[in-house]
Amino acid sequence: MIEFKEVIKEYPNGFRAVDGLTLTARHGEICVLIGPSGCGKTTALRMVNRLIDVTRGEILIDGQPNDEFEPEVLRRQIGYAIQQIGLLPHMTIRDNVAIVPRLLDWDESRIRQRVDLLLDMVGIDPSIHGDKYPRQLSGGQQQRVGVARALGADPPIMLMDEPFGAVDPITRAILQEEFLQIQQEVGKTILFVTHDIDEAIYMGDRIALLRAGRLVQYDSPDDLLAMPRDDFAREFVGADRSLKRLHLISVKDSMMQSVPCCEHDATLEEARACLERHHSESAFVVDADGILLGWVEKAALEASQSLSAAMQRAPAASIAVPEDATAREALSVLLSHSFDVTPVIDADGVLTGGVSIQRLQDLVEVPGIHAAGRDGRP
């Protein structure tokens, strides 16, 4: 747990980089500090391990003021990863990851084990890359090593300053996803600085929005998107905040159980009755096991002799979304087809429900609906 208590950083010229920051990053959570450049987020981060000294106020780590430790002792207990990575170019990958354990005087066999474990964890094969030097690795691999190094001595707390900032967007997305998986395993308390709102929403358990050294809002991603406190916050999260919220909501949580559907061997009358019942222009067709086969439209029903002649067959993956998809994906499918409802299927292809535009609208109007939905994310 990291607590900022009325923390002020004032420079000799009177400039306040951080101005009365009070904030608690809870145990095992990723707390994202975000804001425009110059808002003091990096300064706040660097005050935690005393790379920058606090002018007034105090920072508690698990209840202890951080200036009770020697700076070096403190830093060896806190993982530190930065955008520029800062791997030591004259040391091998293994030696880089082993830096903090060596500073802490672990014995070599334990270090060796730990290093190989960490490299495996971040997806770097130690037997292939372990004895290489940083410049022989790609940017993405270096970022991974940077993360492994920050985890080196298994610190309870990690400070990450745009740790995935130096790579292309595709690699960044992969690294973010992998890091969340690692975090599920290790459960560190993490202070995470970024200027990218999408990254903040994706990575953060809670987001602290800063402006000119002051805390504007500190909320879960969903609440920040649903209820930005003022114009600055609204502008910062962006006009597409509803779309971003959909990204946080899983289909499973938002789908309706009842959708217009009929079995493929139903008669035309049964099909029409089904459409009537749902006041719908189209219905989905499933087989006897409930597996989605395609869809049928009202106009086609009128013109055809049987249901099988009227229905349009399509692979389920092209018209439906899986249960663990986000609501945003469901919306995307909705927009690219003519149905009123995006069908939802489970792992076996069985139709389990659907998501309508009306339903999505309802969702984004209700704040906090998704507070518990973290596990449902991709």
């Binding site: 391990n49 790379l51 000294d53 200036d67 009770e68 020697e70 070096e72 002792v73 403190l74 830093r75 060896r76 530190y80 930065i82 520029q84 990575i85 800062g86 791997l87 030591l88 170019p89 004259h90 040391m91 091998t92 030696d95 830096i99 903090v100 060596r102 500073l103 005087d105 014995d107 070599e108 030097y133 940083p134 410049r135 190094r149 080196g152 400070l159």
Partner: protein
């Protein structure tokens, strides 16, 4: 193209410049002989043909074959440029009397090497170089190229050893003064290495200071630049008076003063550091102030008393026999403490070192051991002659002229490249690397020795090589203030307008510079981490 240049230079020399010079005695002016004037012997034609052949070979189409041909011709040209004139010289010497006007005093007539030999050598090696470039381009292995390039030099060395070139007067001089030359050569090496070592310590410290402190940065770089512009002769002169005075000082007194001062400084620094580290952040500033006053007060008092009553008196009081027990106890504790700290740091350091890097400390250890043995021997020799108390600084070589000012001046001259490169090397390190190191918990010293120094190492070594080479040159001037070294030969040669003597001093100096540079380069490549080595 390069081969053409080599051929042109060599041919020009052989056509128009004298090959050798015939002197009736040491002082008289010589009789120049060009290659064409050497009476009929077909062998000398070979030199012309060889000199001209690169001009033709350069137009050969096949790269590999052209390369080998040029290398062969270049080697041969260099070799024969030295050897054939020596043959001719031998013939000339036998009939020397007949060549000069009647009445010329003929005593020890001699053969001097002249311009055409130099152009022949230069042309030969330029051709050789062109050939090596061709071979490199056609993918001949490094070893083969090295061997081919060195073949001529090896043969020349064989000729030298076999006495085939003894007819030249430089060789005559060499045989006459070989022992003195070896001694001066050794002196030269010692001067350069000692000055380099001293310069390295001071230079790295200054470079570090300049890179850390923006205020001192300009002043330091400017100051070492100024030193470089002082003519070496003037610097030797400036050092004359203060060093002469220091030389008269009694060794024991001086040593006692310095040791005491050093001990006080170290103790104060240690106490300050420990106190400072233990305090919480806020009272630190006040504590610092208090400790400074407390620590500096006795020092200031001692300084004032020393001025008033003389250092001798203060020292006597401090060294009163009544205080002996106290002194010994503190001294012992201090030494013990230092030893423990050093041992602890050493042990921890070793456990952290990646295994493959540990052997790198071997040369350091050997160097330190060698220096210690030398010191012990010197001290032993000194002690056997005189009582310790009678020794003055002069007995250790400190005096206005001679070794001490030479080494001090050389050290000063080595500073510019060392400071500048240390500064540049440290400044050029990516700040993110140092930041991440600090963020992971490196102390300032750990950061310097394990991150900054290894990263700046190649740049610093470039400065060391630069300094070493220029020191070899400047050390020759030290002979003016009686320090010896190879400059003795050069000065003697200049005074007696004897080219041979000058060359006898200059050639070893050049060789020394080349060998030193190669050795330092090897050291650099051995000690630079593969992670930052230039590809």
């Amino acid at each position: 193209m390069i081969a053409l240049l080599g051929g042109c230079i060599a041919s020009f020399g052989f056509f128009f410049l004298p090959v050798i010079e015939l002197k009736p005695n040491r002082l008289a002016s010589g009789l120049p002989v060009t290659l064409l004037e050497i009476p009929g012997d077909w062998r000398y034609l070979l030199l012309f043909l060889l000199a001209l052949s690169p001009l033709l070979l350069a137009f050969l189409g096949v790269r590999n074959r052209r390369g080998w041909a040029l290398v062969a011709v270049g080697n041969l040209l260099a070799l024969l440029s030295l050897y054939l004139p020596a043959l001719a010289g031998g013939v000339y010497l036998q009939g020397a009397e007949a060549l000069f006007e009647a009445g010329t005093r003929i005593s020890n007539p001699r053969i001097l090497t002249s311009a055409a030999i130099a152009t022949g050598l230069a042309g030969g090696y330029i051709t050789l170089f062109a050939g090596l470039l061709d071979l490199e381009a056609s993918g001949v292995s490094r070893w083969a190229r090295g061997l081919a390039g060195a073949a001529g030099a090896l043969l020349i060395a064989l000729l030298l050893a076999g006495g085939a070139l003894d007819v030249y007067s430089i060789m005559v001089e060499y045989h006459a003064r070989g022992e003195a030359l070896a001694l001066r050569f050794l002196e030269h090496i010692v001067f350069v290495l000692v000055a380099l070592a001293a310069g390295l310590i001071v230079g790295i410290a200054l470079g570090l200071w300049a890179s850390r402190d923006a205020k001192a940065e300009d002043a330091i770089l400017y100051a070492v630049g100024i030193i470089q512009t002082i003519p070496s002769l003037a610097l030797f002169g400036i050092l004359l008076a203060p060093l002469a005075r220091l030389g008269d000082a009694n060794f024991l007194t001086l040593a006692r003063e310095w040791l005491l001062l050093a001990a006080l400084a170290i103790a104060a620094a240690l106490i300050l550091r420990r106190l400072y580290a233990r305090l919480p952040a806020r009272p630190r500033q006040f504590a610092m102030l208090a400790v400074f006053i407390l620590a500096l007060l006795p020092l200031a008092l001692a300084a004032v008393l020393s001025i008033a009553f003389g250092f001798e008196v203060v020292l006597t009081v401090l060294t009163l026999p009544q205080l002996a027990a106290l002194r010994e106890a503190t001294g012992l504790a201090l030494v013990l403490f230092l030893l423990l700290m050093a041992a602890g740091e050493r042990l921890r350091l070793e456990r952290r070192l990646p295994r493959y890097r540990q052997w790198r400390f071997l040369p350091l250890l050997l160097a330190a051991l060698g220096a210690l043995i030398l010191l012990a021997q010197a001290a032993g020799a000194l002690l056997r002659q005189r009582e310790l108390a009678e020794l003055t600084m002069r007995d250790f070589g400190v005096s206005g002229i001679g070794t001490a000012p030479a080494i001090i001046a050389l050290t000063l001259y080595s500073l510019l490249p060392l400071v500048r490169n240390t500064y540049a090397g440290l400044k050029n390190i990516d700040p993110a690397i140092i930041d991440s190191g600090r963020g992971m918990g490196f102390t300032a010293a750990q950061s310097f020795f394990r991150i900054e120094l290894p990263l700046a190492f190649p740049v610093i070594m470039a400065g060391v090589r630069n300094a070493a080479i220029s020191l070899v040159g400047i050390a020759a001037v030290a002979s003016i203030i009686g320090a010896g070294a190879l400059g003795d030969f050069i000065l003697l040669g200049v005074n007696s307008t004897s080219i041979d003597q000058i060359l006898l001093g200059a050639i070893p100096a050049v060789l020394l510079a080349v060998i030193l540079d190669a050795a330092l380069k090897l050291l650099e490549s051995l000690m630079t981490s593969p992670g930052i080595r230039q590809a």
